[in-house]
């Protein structure tokens, strides 16, 4: 299921809200202040954070154009697993806690809304044909890490998608690759949790059309302490709140390639 949209000059694209409604509020305010024409979200509205239903009014009120992530697909379909793609037992232990909490605290109406989202979106950004996906164009939960995504694969995916620019998320860490043939791949990052660099801010991406594509990663500061306290009140694992407070990932680490893992604390 994909959807053909119109033409734009400047857009904001965010990924992985993970129920972080405070970061979502701050991100939307920042994006509007930058004069973007539209805001897109590449999926995974829930998971990890508290009070999953708080993100949906914000997404609707601001007209955010979403696509489905694996979490959204699982919630909408009533699956018992988030479909995150972890293989390690410790990663899966925390993923299961997070998914159960999110499933139990997401309304039927919001699950149905997630179920109606498209899997991909296409648009024109100036002359550039853009494909938006969650993990990769071929698999919703494929991890495309910077150190583990070769140029040959990107060319292959862009060829098959008939696109000049591919935008994805899912891993939680942003990156941008300009290929020698002037095509681009951008992992837009996530706003749900910091990116394992010891800083508490989160990131989204502003893309501006020109003869070449301009890609700007935007840091967003928000009241992370308030979010951490909400997580504690909801009895989410203390390891989750620690990540919000410190900027270091404490869970879901085993899926990281060596290079990204070496940059973190754990």
């Amino acid at each position: 299921m994909s959807e053909q949209l119109g033409e734009y000059r400047k857009i904001a694209v965010l990924g992985g809200v993970y129920s972080n409604w405070l970061a979502l509020e701050a991100t939307l305010a920042d994006a509007r202040a930058r004069g973007v024409e539209a805001v897109f979200c590449l999926g995974d509205m829930g998971g990890f954070g508290p009070h999953p239903d708080r993100v949906f009014p914000l997404l609707r009120e601001h007209g955010v154009l979403g696509i489905q992530g694996n979490y959204d697909e699982s919630l909408a379909s009533g699956h018992t697993d988030c479909g995150c793609g972890y293989t390690d037992p410790r990663d899966n232990h925390y993923a299961a806690i997070s998914y159960r909490y999110t499933f139990d605290n997401t309304s039927t109406e919001n699950k149905a809304w997630l179920g109606a989202l498209p899997r991909h979106r296409r648009l024109k950004l100036g002359p550039h044909r853009v494909l938006m996906c969650h993990g990769s164009p071929r698999v919703i939960n494929e991890f495309l890490w910077e150190s583990a995504t070769p140029n040959g694969l990107l060319r292959h995916l862009l060829d098959r998608a008939e696109a000049d620019v591919m935008l994805c998320t899912h891993t939680g860490i942003k990156w941008h690759r300009a290929l020698p043939d002037a095509r681009h791949a951008v992992n837009v990052g996530v706003i749900g949790r910091p990116e394992n660099d010891g800083r508490t801010n989160v990131w989204y991406t502003v893309l501006t059309a020109g003869t070449d594509l301009e890609v700007e990663f935007v840091p967003v500061r928000y009241d992370h302490e308030a979010l951490a306290r909400e997580m504690e009140r909801e009895r989410l694992p203390p390891e989750f709140a620690e990540t919000i407070r410190t900027g270091w990932w404490t869970t879901c680490l085993e899926i990281l390639p060596a290079r990204e893992r070496a940059r973190g604390k754990y």
Binding site: P89, R138, S147, P150, G152, L153, A258, R261
Partner: protein, 296 residues
């Protein structure tokens, strides 16, 4: 209604896994040539006259170049013991120009100088280098009963050396030494605790089932039938998006490399892009456990 005299004939055809595209290229670089002779080795690798010959560097370079043009996502070197190959470092470096690369090793040939060389290659590379070191139990005697005298000490030293250089090796274990069966949870915790006690503060682990083949006694299990696979998503099998270059051609999966029944091409990778026959009892293990030889 009279029951039929004969039961319906079982489908005579071998079930197949579809091919979706090349995600993982495996290179059986040393064939079944190894300096160890592990009791559970699935392809019976060892130090004497390997039944599957090592590959020459030119064949490997050709396969890597072809894989790049086909959009490969990751490259793996396995064997045998890859560090017995005289050109292994140069070939790892070449592979890393194309894709993130993993080497599966028993660790016994990684000393400080080799760990330094690997760290230098990793630092220069565009993509991640992963080293997977096999260790079957945190206890030396349990491990060496399976892998041979002295294997534990050398493998643990390799893990320490690599970790100290920031390469963060993935310790790969089967459940054979602990006799723990499917209780991977307990084994997982034991390995984590053990590695942390060794100063490996970011322990990375992968567990594999034991395959009833190679040096292990055959299970006598009946190969899969289409009936067994009803309702099962065959595209989740690793032969749906992996291919193995080994002596004699291109094979469907790393477990079956070198076996004529698993050979899909005698030449190019692209010629092997067709459905793989799920003919071997090992396919039952993949189907039952959902295992993959990939890192994750």
């Amino acid at each position: 209604m009279t029951p039929p005299l004969l039961a319906p004939a079982r489908a005579a055809s071998v079930p197949q896994a579809p091919f979706l595209g090349l995600t993982a290229l495996w290179i059986q670089i040393t064939g079944t040539w190894c300096n160890l002779e592990c009791r559970h080795c699935l392809n019976a690798s060892g130090p004497r006259a390997p039944w599957l010959k090592p590959l020459d560097a030119e064949t490997i370079r050709r396969a890597i170049a072809e894989a790049e043009s086909l959009g490969v996502k990751e490259i793996y070197f396995t064997g045998g013991e890859p560090f017995l190959h005289g050109e292994i470092l140069a070939l790892i470096e070449r592979a890393l120009e194309v894709a993130p690369t993993t080497v599966l090793t028993n660790g016994t040939l990684i000393d400080a100088a080799r760990a330094d060389a690997l760290a230098a290659v990793a630092a220069r590379a565009a993509y991640s280098l992963e080293i997977r070191v096999s260790l079957d139990d945190p206890d030396p005697s349990c491990n060496d009963a399976v892998r041979g005298e002295g294997a534990w000490a050398k493998a643990v030293e390799a893990v320490r050396l690599l970790h100290a250089r920031g390469l963060l090796p993935i310790v790969t274990a089967t459940e054979i030494a602990s006799e723990a069966g499917p209780a991977a949870g307990g084994l997982h915790a034991r390995f984590r605790d053990f590695l942390q006690a060794q100063g490996v503060d970011r322990p990375r682990l992968k567990f594999m089932p034991v395959f009833a083949m190679g040096r292990q006694p055959a299970s006598g299990e009946t190969p899969l039938t289409d009936e067994d696979l009803e309702g099962f998503e065959r595209s989740t099998l690793q032969c749906a998006d992996a291919r193995v270059v080994a002596a004699g051609g291109v094979y469907a999966c790393p477990i079956l490399a070198g076996l004529p029944g698993a050979r899909l091409s005698r030449g190019s990778l692209v010629d092997s892009f067709r459905a793989a026959p799920l003919y071997h009892p090992a396919c039952v293990t993949c189907h039952r456990t959902g295992m993959t030889c990939r890192n994750s």
